[in-house]
């Protein structure tokens, strides 16, 4: 209003009365000062940015796998949904990196989280965890996250778990929760391993299956000895149909190594299931990106490119490795959580150059339009310039 001397709204019917109400409330209204810090305290209870742990125990599961029991340094762990993971930060060989691991323990107790780690050939992080980490060591991680869990709104009460190798860990958390809490869910686990000695949690699974009518466990061995008694081969559509009967009212959860994931996904799709019935855990970068559909011909994994970063550094990365890993080797750490292209924590803007996103990367439509990439699943196809 041009005339600053009088407030024209004073002429609005009811204005004066509301002014008076405001005067009263100024004396007796809410005292916001008591709420200082409340928002952050609540967020920390559910979604703390960092969890700091001490390793309290280490259990040997198989020749290749160990379980690390992690207790919180501040005495508190946030709730999670069985099947979710944390991204564990490590420093090894002078490089800071991280890897997501599913929480294997049940969510109904939060005194500790158990992580089961299986040796990956040439695994940069897994070999460090399995060989170097000792009881009493300190570790840190993100809070729990991820979308691989039983959602009672859309998932059936009859569930089928297809696990391979360390892919059993999210299922183990689900199975432990259902059996611990006596939930009514009907569970059938198909767990593929190379040989019987590779089966993680073997005794516990057998014991739980014996005690609980709603849990059936089928171990499937791909490289059995001649005298092995039990299911052998790969988990395929035929086996599922034989063991399960009617599939139409079931939800399938799949988590395993790359080869199994590819094989089982096809088998499941061949069973005429609706897409909603198939739940697949996110999958990290592929073993060999150059074998993926869409990878440009003639570009080999060992080719190297220059990445110009907005802080004026120029770093060398190779085509066959996710940009995030390459940058970490050059001591540039990006925010990371899922390392599978779904959480978008690492999202950066590509100012120039081209990248290849591994299959399964979840880019928003507008990320494509405005040139944002997910470096944890993006491979350089030439020199790049990125904006951090």
């Amino acid at each position: 209003m041009k005339n600053k001397m009088t407030n024209p709204f004073e002429q609005v019917a009811g204005y004066k009365e509301i002014r008076e109400e405001i005067e009263v409330l100024s004396k007796y209204g809410d005292d916001f000062t008591s709420q200082r810090g409340n928002v952050n305290a609540t967020v920390d209870r559910y979604h703390p940015k960092r969890l700091n742990f001490q390793v309290s125990e280490i259990f040997t599961e198989t020749a290749l796998a160990k379980t690390f029991r992690l207790v919180p340094e501040n005495g508190y762990l946030p709730p999670f949904q069985a099947g979710q993971y944390i991204n564990l930060f490590v420093e090894t060989q002078g490089v800071r990196s991280s890897r997501p691991y599913s929480i294997a323990s049940a969510p109904n107790q939060r005194a500790y989280y158990d992580l089961t780690v299986k040796a990956v050939p040439d695994g940069f992080v897994s070999s460090h965890l399995l060989e170097d980490v000792k009881v009493g060591d300190h570790l840190s991680s993100t809070g729990p996250m991820g979308g691989f869990f039983h959602n009672p709104l859309s998932h059936a009460n009859e569930v089928v778990y297809l696990a391979g190798g360390s892919g059993i860990t999210p299922m183990m958390s689900m199975i432990r929760e259902v059996t611990d809490r006596g939930l009514k869910r009907q569970m059938h686990l198909f767990y593929g391993s190379r040989n019987p000695d590779d089966i993680i949690y073997k005794q516990e699974l057998e014991r739980l299956a014996e005690m609980h009518k709603n849990l059936t466990v089928d171990f499937v061995i791909s490289e059995p000895e001649d005298d092995y008694q039990g299911l052998t081969g790969f988990i395929n559509g035929k086996l599922l149909q034989e063991r399960l009967g009617d599939l139409s009212k079931k939800t399938f959860f799949l988590c395993g190594p790359e080869a199994m994931y590819k094989f089982c996904r096809k088998e499941l799709e061949g069973l005429g299931l609706r897409r909603k019935q198939i739940r697949v855990e996110v999958f990290g970068p592929p073993g060999d990106v150059t074998a993926q559909p869409g990878w440009p011909e003639g570009l080999t994994a060992d080719m190297t490119f220059q990445v110009k970063v907005s802080d004026s550094r120029t770093l060398e990365v190779s085509a066959g490795e996710p940009l995030m890993n390459g940058l970490e080797r050059m001591n540039l750490e990006l925010p990371a959580a899922c390392r599978s292209g779904e959480c978008s924590y690492c999202r950066v803007k590509l100012k120039s150059g081209k990248v290849f996103h591994a299959p399964g990367t979840k880019l928003r439509k507008s990320d494509l339009q405005f040139g944002f990439i997910h470096p944890c699943m993006a491979y350089p196809l030439g020199d790049l310039e990125i904006l951090l």
Partner: protein, 496 residues
């Protein structure tokens, strides 16, 4: 990196328009955002083959190219018009009351009046008179208030002065007898979070007027596309943005802005700060009571924290028509009693109603072929969620969401069976992503006393400005406009 003319805290709607306006005027600006994507509420997330729209239900104030509304003009000034594609909705909404009412209002004054009269013939005269009043009111508002008429007076603008601060229920009672017709006309109350008995007529009349005259719109790519376009324009103008980088502290010296300290401990010197964070956390957590004039803290006392929401994001493996969804926006209720509806916002008891948005009707490309996306939203305060022990949270969340799905199923049989992806957000989710007290999505409550006739947005500290729902009524158009206003004030101050 350590010295800027202005630092904008938060890349929500208000923060983005503030930052973009500043950078495009040559002000050296840093934009800080704690999350990894821009937008605040104006964002999306991906589950399976669906990219879910988080918050936009109907964009108001855009208008067409031929008849541009205030928002289209704002987008042009911010350099984002050519970066965006818009989709127009032809109906304002459908109002559905179980077993009692199912009516859809076109985004056209004459056609809406006709539909209302066809459903409620006995109320013909009242409907016509009420819409006459709404339009006369809007005329007064545009000319007298927005137009800043120097000769503003009760004699010149009697409709505005008589009706602006009346509660909507009493105005509805004056013209309309049938409670179902009242509910139909007042359906937009949910966008403000106040049922008609505590919703100013100003808010109800202007919402109806703006949506009918400028039509409801959506963005191709959802509201995330808007946020990205604004950020793009900001970066093009030389602005610097940092994500995963929240502001922890605003350093004040002698009542003036000195610096902003990030969550990583970096100190950025600046003399101008736009906070897109909530007024409450900006004052109490970032600045600290001890650095504020007593008056500023006292000015919070008459305010209260506004509503949050529970939203059920549904990805369906069918086309909308397969389960009978024909209108983008539906306000649904079981009993048709609005007071019961807002009452259930304070408890885990069975929800009485909800708003449903299907994004694929206006934009068939919104989801992949053979699928569609629907969001169910219910306004909800945070108190009872805050009281939950964390281990009970997920169960409470799914139980409440399931009851909302019951309403959708009742309205559209087959809805539940078609669910391929479902995600639920609660007041605690909003608190995490927005860092607002009570997870508020609309800032403070929006009673008549909270109208900007009564609230001063003059900052208590030199160099501090606010943008977003805490200094505007909630929603896209007001928050977008608030950021530009804050930026203009800074530009004026710098030029002095």
């Amino acid at each position: 990196m350590s010295n800027f003319d202005a630092v904008v805290i938060g890349a929500g709607n208000g923060g983005l328009t503030a930052a973009t306006t500043l950078a495009r005027s040559g002000v050296k600006t840093l934009l800080l955002e704690q999350h990894n994507v821009p937008g605040g509420c104006a964002t999306s997330f991906i589950r399976g083959r669906f990219e879910f729209e988080v918050a936009l239900h109907q964009l108001s104030g855009l208008g067409s190219e031929d008849k541009p509304g205030p928002l289209r003009r704002l987008f042009a000034k911010l350099g984002v018009l050519n970066k965006l594609e818009f989709v127009e909705e032809h109906d304002i909404y459908r109002t559905w009351v179980s077993d009692q009412l199912d009516i859809t209002l076109p985004a056209d004054r004459k056609a809406t009046i006709e539909v209302l009269i066809a459903h409620f013939p006995a109320e013909k005269e009242g409907i016509q008179r009420l819409f006459g009043l709404i339009y006369q009111f809007a005329q007064d508002m545009l000319q007298g208030v927005y137009g800043r008429d120097p000769d503003f007076s009760a004699e010149k603008y009697p409709t505005f002065c008589n009706y602006a601060l009346r509660d909507s229920q009493s105005v509805l009672d004056e013209f309309i007898k049938d409670p179902l017709l009242q509910l139909t006309i007042a359906s937009y109350w949910g966008y403000v979070g106040q049922p008609p008995r505590s919703l100013s007529f100003l808010d109800l009349a202007m919402m109806l007027f703006i949506y009918i005259e400028f039509k409801p719109y959506h963005f191709k790519g959802g509201s995330q596309a808007l946020s990205q376009a604004l950020l793009d324009s900001f970066l093009e103008a030389g602005g610097i943005a940092r994500f995963n980088c929240g502001a922890r502290k605003i350093v004040v010296d002698n009542g003036e802005m000195r610096a902003v300290v990030t969550e990583h401990g970096d100190q950025i010197d600046t003399t101008h700060v736009v906070s897109n964070a909530s007024l409450v956390t900006t004052y109490l957590d970032m600045i600290g009571e001890e650095h504020l004039p007593v008056k500023a803290v006292a000015a919070l006392k008459p305010r209260s924290i506004g509503t949050s929401a529970v939203t059920v994001y549904c990805g369906l493996d069918c086309e909308p028509a397969d389960i009978g969804i024909e209108v983008s926006t539906t306000f649904a209720s079981i009993s048709g009693e609005m007071d019961t509806m807002i009452g259930s916002a304070h408890s885990f008891e069975k929800p009485e109603g909800l708003a449903m948005t299907c994004y694929d009707l206006a934009d068939p490309e919104f989801s992949s072929p053979g699928t569609c996306q629907v969001s169910l939203i219910n306004l909800c305060y945070a108190d009872h969620w805050l009281e939950l022990p964390p281990e009970s949270y997920h169960e409470a969340k799914y139980k409440y969401a399931s009851q909302m799905l019951d309403i959708a199923e009742r309205m559209h049989p087959g809805f539940r069976d078609a669910l391929e992806e479902v995600e639920v957000s609660t007041p605690l989710t909003h608190m995490n992503y927005l860092r607002t007290p009570g997870g508020s999505i609309y800032g403070f409550t929006n009673f008549a006393k909270d109208n900007n006739m009564f609230t001063s947005h003059r900052s208590p500290l030199k160099g501090l400005y606010h943008a977003g729902a805490w200094v505007a009524i909630g929603g896209f158009q007001p928050t977008l406009e608030s950021g530009t206003q804050a930026a203009k004030a800074i530009i004026k101050a710098i030029q002095k």
